[in-house]
Symmetry: D2
């Protein structure tokens, strides 16, 4: 398949589209990002790298970090992980307290905020230096030592974390948080503030396309059976309450972030990432979804 | 792969399990089915048929019929189909009015009762003889002319349809039902009362594994792009509020029914069906899910 | 107290107000009523009748009829009445299915539609000729034999009853409806279609102000202890999800209808009724509420 | 009326009842209170004091303090009070986040926890020394200078305040909290920890029965029009989701607390308080409700 031609065609089509979406503003620092940024990076197991646009520029990965945190939690000896967080789609906006209260403090899945906060709590209990180890893990799977956090975003989100604080206190009242509320929040916000480029994200996501192993090495980061489960959760829960729409239009497991990034994979084939800050009404990158829909349409390949 | 050996192994393991589930009782006639029935049928694109147990005995397919009805609706020139029914997982039990009221009469997806009732309404508007044409469609894709309905189940469900009547009236009050309430209910209940064996269901589901074409013929029933979308909806919405769990444990698109049947497919590989009447708390066949989990574990293959 | 002066003052103040409300339109026939109709009738135990405006013109009493139906149900030997319907405020719009589903088919109180439908079902089980006996009861307490129904409203509402049909079917699925769904709906719609003037309504409501007895006679219609309970339910549940606001601003037990009528009482003092068709966002007569607020402010009397 | 005889009769009847309720345990310190404590105090405008049992023993007034806080807020020049908190019954358990999220951070009324937390925030903005001034206000209307808080209860609740912290953070995220979250929580918990006897509570509640004035003095604490509104809110919202039941059975405005206390008033007649720690399923004192129901039955008087 001529991936370069397909990528070029997507670039051409999408570049002229004007997004009706809005750049995320609930974290003030995020709203400063230019809305016309647009990049895409495709990393194929068999044929390497293809990209266009701002694919080498770093952005705030935000909720995409939840996939890395879940992966680390599945590596930890945390037998109670899936007792403390379910694996069902939420059918509700991404930070709803309603469902959490109704279901006694057990989040629907690890990719809504509540679930990721439980995962953060669990990692704090298991890791010596949670922040450092998280960053090291991401750097390792992305093969890039310079990855770090955006301190302005980190500080900005810390000042606007009442909604997440409400979630953590609620779950603690149900006995589903072990550590100090502020520590859990701080670690969670730190993860969201990690900055990566489309290329770096695609390299990191290759482990989900490649059965848990680093490509072209002998290094098995995590068991294939666990990767399948993470991919299954991405498929059903990776896009807030638009998971069905994404599955319907794109047909790949993936995860979006309010920074405008989306990372997705085709098991055994490729990892692919896009970045365009304006979000649709459900909180996912509008042009990003369009790029990925075009990709599976033009390649004729989806997992279905 | 030695599928016969794998099927035998599943038969051995599951046959000794005792289900803690309960046979569906809300339709009295369904509760008469012996709870120890157990059958499985695997139909591979490359290597044909494998089965064990009661795989040739017909049972009430119930909600599995929703897949066939959706397929027919996607064949009809029904441009408004996905305006009248969404494609998102419900995150709620299978016949919830709560979500339907909150979302102004637009069902979350075509595989919950409300969604299937809208699909039925739409088919009534488009077909000359809805019941006959539905049956003919199922017979055609299953290559079996003798398929029909169980009249006792049909009559029994007609007498216990207040819940579904409530759904149809509510949607009609929102303007999302075009035809007479009783006619919509009658057609819907008729579809649920269709009886098929595991083998017949597996043959019918082959079109979803085989890109929309009847296997070993030139007959393309429905376009591959539409089959992908149906498979995507099965993946995210096929198991009521256990869709995530099924995706997590089994990793295949599929659909369950309260008669104890489950049909699933691996695109490009196989269609597989199981039947065991006792249902778990979420309304899915308990041993059926175990059979399918074993299948993807033993073959090492899932779509993820 | 110079009630005539107070009534004149209210007439003067309210007559110049322009309502921002909207005449009910969900029953087409109701929307034909001129929006500038305005009447008020005060009937004092000690000093008789005071009125202004269109107080002698009949209008559709709609949900005010629920008070009469509840009164008849409390007269019937219906021991299970308050097992089948609760007495708590709903905190939700007047015809919500959400709460009804969550609470297993037991309506929150007899003054929301669901509750009144259960009351209707119960009356059908206990009365020989429900419609005739209902009308006779209303005529008797209003001392007016000519009271009847508006047939155009009755027919119009019958053609737009899907929402209520949905409620009855849902409750029947929970076992909380004994009779035929259509019969329950028909009787309920019949009650709503009764037409009365402000004066007739005030005379009928005198039994609630006068401890259950017809004024100036020896005729005790219903025990004082039961009247107290009906008044308590009017206080907490008489105004859909604006019951608190009405209690806060007016401070009297009462009941509103979407025809623009409100009937209220001050125990031991008076019955008072108003009519003005435009409704506020919560479904209560906007100018009607203003009239009653002025009444308790100008008299300096409320039950609090 | 022979109130002493009535009080004696209630004492006799209720003393032999065994409560099936449970002493509140979510604040550990509260669970230490002996479950067989039982006291009642009736304070009549015309005829003075009547009591039985443990009516002179102090207990934790808990949510009854919400009435005092609301009264102070209505005295403050806080024009936005009823924009920041509604006056509708909640129809939901006492600390539900569901409704609060659905209604964008505006609590349903000032007597659920969320509403009282907004009132506390507002008082912090208006008062120099909130805690001292609150205590002084209660001492003044109860004519008792020795009233103070129970420090063990205060400390205990501070350690178990995650649920309330969740509420405050959620409302802050909606912009409905002005001050520091910890300061709001601290002041709220302080109010709940106030200890009073039935007698002291009855004296304090006399202002609500006596049109806002201290009895037998010229001192008008708060305007009669404001007292009416507070009483109206007590009537519709004073008993969590049992407000309708209390109105139905007792028929008086009142407020309960999880310490087992209930204070109620009959405008123009009396203030009455009861204390019995075991709570029914809705969080109200079981025997306390029975005492008050007997009181209005035996006196034949309720506001209805």
């Amino acid at each position: 398949m001529d991936y370069q031609k397909i990528i070029n065609q997507i670039a051409q089509e999408v570049s002229v589209k004007e997004s009706k979406g809005k750049v995320a503003s609930y974290i003030p620092e995020l709203s400063c990002v230019p809305s016309d940024k647009l990049g895409m990076h495709l990393y194929c197991i068999n044929s390497g790298h293809y990209q266009f646009g701002d694919s080498a520029e770093r952005f705030s990965i935000q909720s995409i970090s939840k996939v890395f945190a879940l992966t680390m939690a599945m590596l930890a000896p945390a037998e109670d992980l899936f007792k403390r967080v379910d694996v069902e789609p939420s059918g509700d906006p991404f930070n709803s307290l309603i469902q959490l209260e109704y279901e006694k403090g057990i989040p629907r899945n690890p990719f809504i905020n509540a679930g990721a906060l439980v995962v953060s709590d669990l990692l704090i209990s298991h890791l010596e230096n949670p922040k450092e180890e998280f960053l090291e893990f991401v750097r390792a799977i992305a093969h890039t030592k310079s990855i770090g956090i955006n301190d302005a975003v980190y500080q900005s989100e810390k000042r606007h974390s009442d909604r997440n604080a409400s979630l953590v206190h609620l779950m603690k009242s149900f006995g589903n948080i072990e550590n100090d509320v502020d520590e859990v929040l701080d670690f969670y916000i730190y993860q969201c503030a990690v900055e990566m480029s489309c290329k770096e994200l695609a390299m990191a996501f290759m482990i989900y396309a490649n059965g848990g192993a680093l490509l072209n090495t002998d290094s098995q980061i995590i068991a294939p059976s666990k990767i399948k489960r993470i991919n299954a959760i991405m498929q059903t829960c990776g896009f807030y309450d638009e998971a069905g729409e994404f599955s319907f239009r794109v047909g790949l497991p993936g995860k979006s972030g309010v920074g405008g990034g989306i990372a997705a994979i085709h098991p055994g084939q490729y990892a692919v990432t896009v970045w365009s800050p304006p979000l649709n009404a459900k909180g996912n990158s509008e042009l990003g979804m369009l790029c990925l829909e075009n990709l599976t349409t033009l390649t004729g390949l989806s997992i279905f």
